[in-house]
Symmetry: C2
Subunit: 373 residues, 2 copies
């Protein structure tokens, strides 16, 4: 059967390997598997949220409140905006999908950093758009500006901080850049890891209300998957001027958030203390990764997120390191597919990280042995 | 900001009113509200599934197994196919979206029955396609054939049984129709309520394995939202030949099913006994609606689903009946938007239905009074 030609250029997103797969493929006991590949919150979901959802599980037969009244009101309060400024997606992913489909067709251009969240390009290709990439892996606003002046763009994605690398632009430089962008160009500021960035360095903090007020052509994306520890529940949001958000609703499928996901997000917003504790632990544990990399002589990218990207230069091949770790039950993300000889590791709990360091020691020893044979 | 022109023709789906809204708008106590507007299973989710999900709620922070291995294996076993024949969607809705986007652009045509599931048209318009509709409200295959011969179509939707009317074509007539359709036309057989239809009348039963073997240009849709009582969890599936399913994966966003939704669907398949009990109760309760309608002198459409469509002719105006019921805490679906003077009521539990009949009596009395004033 023949399908739409646009599909010929579509790529499939490669998700972090799930624990179930490692159990099936390598026969590792599920208890011994450490998954640090998808930037989940290693401290689990807030116990208050877990308890609430356990009690609500009898509501699964009921369709959710598709107006999402309560969640949008809570977000509006948190961000000092009105509920009309919000659209909720099945992960901020889905909001990206709405925005790309609303703005782009086969004549459109989307400008992104060379190495950034893969879904920008995947949704862009589904819409038939051309993807323009900067030369540098990390966000380089001069390169963005140069390409924009030369080629134009219907959408620009800024990932702040950037996944999968971890770097983050300062708010001031972002605002200076935005001031040079045409009002018909939609700029999407992906703040999936903003909670981490602003904790570490206030200069990175982007306030969505301030952003969309100064730049009505921007949309800010947030998620419950990272700091709010609901990676499995698929809830994200877009914040924008009401006219943009209203248009997005034309593309939102009804009931795009499940009953329990909606309830979990509402509850998670009530336990900000838990979120802040997790973020504090994240950065104290991240220091251990930085020390480990230094000790081993590896370079790494300074991270404003809950993961760290460690580069191997010519000493080791990242895909081999990731594979050896996998066989020992530790799942990390190899970045070979992004053209980098590097791995991205989610910052785990203290105990998990200790095991990662010990296992990495073993892996490097094994790989050196192989080389000597 | 300017957006894609295709959005100008997009409609927004009108969901059944949620209980939360009636509480907010009419101040009715949530305990007293009966929602029979979205064809949820009135007996709730299987207690076994509820218990399992309560125990799994601590897993919310973890991304789901995006391969959906276990669920697809279970479905493959149930339908005597392989897991490669399945794609899982956030409701069968999302599978419709994949299929429409994969097959259609602004030059495409989609053929549907006049009054059928609204999402076919909504997704079709998003893709820029032209929607062709038969003259009759209920599925009329001669009209389908006539329109198809005259206009052609890239996609034909058959809703078996049909939502929101409840009628269902026989398998034999469907197969005869399918034999006349070009192999490049995708025919989507929406079996969201098939579990009900085949219980009531074996002539309505469509076996997905047999369907796609005889007609490789078909895709069968199933859902966990109705008989499997997981309306709030958003899990549906498409069954098709491997080449079609593989292409759909290019449009599937990663992690489109939440961790708890995936687990709930897997568990629900283990409790078929519960499903069959609910279906048996559904049809014994439906008889009461038929009797009530007869007593009142209303016509209704013979239903092979878990809802019934009652028509009012000129005696009453359906929107008024629905509004009066709403004010008394009973939510049903008014079909005025479909051009019908009718309401669609989900068959509730015995207790709920008794209250519906009593409340309807009150409503009709109120409306007659108004008329007399």
């Amino acid at each position: 059967m023949k399908f739409n030609k646009v599909l010929d250029n579509c790529k499939i997103y490669e998700a972090g390997k799930p624990i179930e797969l490692v159990v099936r493929d390598y026969g590792v006991d599920p208890k011994d598997i450490i998954k640090l590949a998808s930037n989940e919150n290693p401290y689990g979901t807030s116990p208050k949220v877990v308890e609430k959802i356990a009690n609500l599980s009898k509501n699964m037969f009921m369709y959710p409140d598709d107006s999402m009244y309560e969640l949008k009101e809570a977000l509006a309060k948190k961000f000092n905006l009105t509920s009309e400024n919000f659209i909720i997606g099945s992960g901020s992913d889905q909001v990206i999908d709405f925005l790309v489909k609303a703005k782009c067709d086969e004549n459109s251009k989307i400008l992104v950093s060379k190495t950034t969240f893969a879904m920008y390009e995947i949704y862009g290709r589904q819409a038939g758009a051309t993807i323009l990439k900067t030369k540098d892996d990390e966000h380089n606003l001069s390169q963005f500006e140069e390409l924009y002046k030369k080629e134009g763009a219907d959408i620009i994605f800024l990932c702040l901080p950037n996944n999968p690398l971890g770097e983050c632009l300062d708010k001031d430089e972002v605002y200076k850049f935005l001031a040079k962008i045409d009002k018909e160009t939609l700029v999407i500021v992906d703040g999936a890891y903003q909670e981490y960035a602003k904790y570490k360095d206030v200069k990175k903090a982007i306030d969505p209300a301030d952003l969309i007020e100064h730049f009505p052509n921007t949309v800010y994306l947030g998620t419950f998957s990272k700091a709010y520890a609901l990676g499995g529940m698929r809830v994200g949001y877009g914040i924008g001027q009401i006219n943009i958000i209203k248009t997005m609703y034309k593309l939102r499928p009804p009931f795009n958030i499940s009953t329990l996901s909606l309830a979990a997000a509402i509850e998670a917003l009530k336990d900000e203390e838990f979120v802040q504790e997790c973020i504090a632990l994240n950065f104290s544990e991240m220091k251990r990764y930085e020390e480990y990399a230094k000790k081993r002589g590896f370079s790494y990218i300074e991270s404003f997120t809950n993961f760290i990207t460690i580069k191997f230069d010519s000493d080791y091949i990242s895909s081999e390191v990731a594979q050896k770790l996998l066989e020992k039950g530790i799942i990390v993300r190899d970045l070979t597919g992004y053209g980098l000889n590097a791995i991205r590791i989610t910052i785990g709990s203290r105990e998990q990280n200790t095991k990662v360091f010990n296992t990495l020691d073993e892996v490097f020893k094994d790989l050196q042995k192989q080389e000597n044979i």
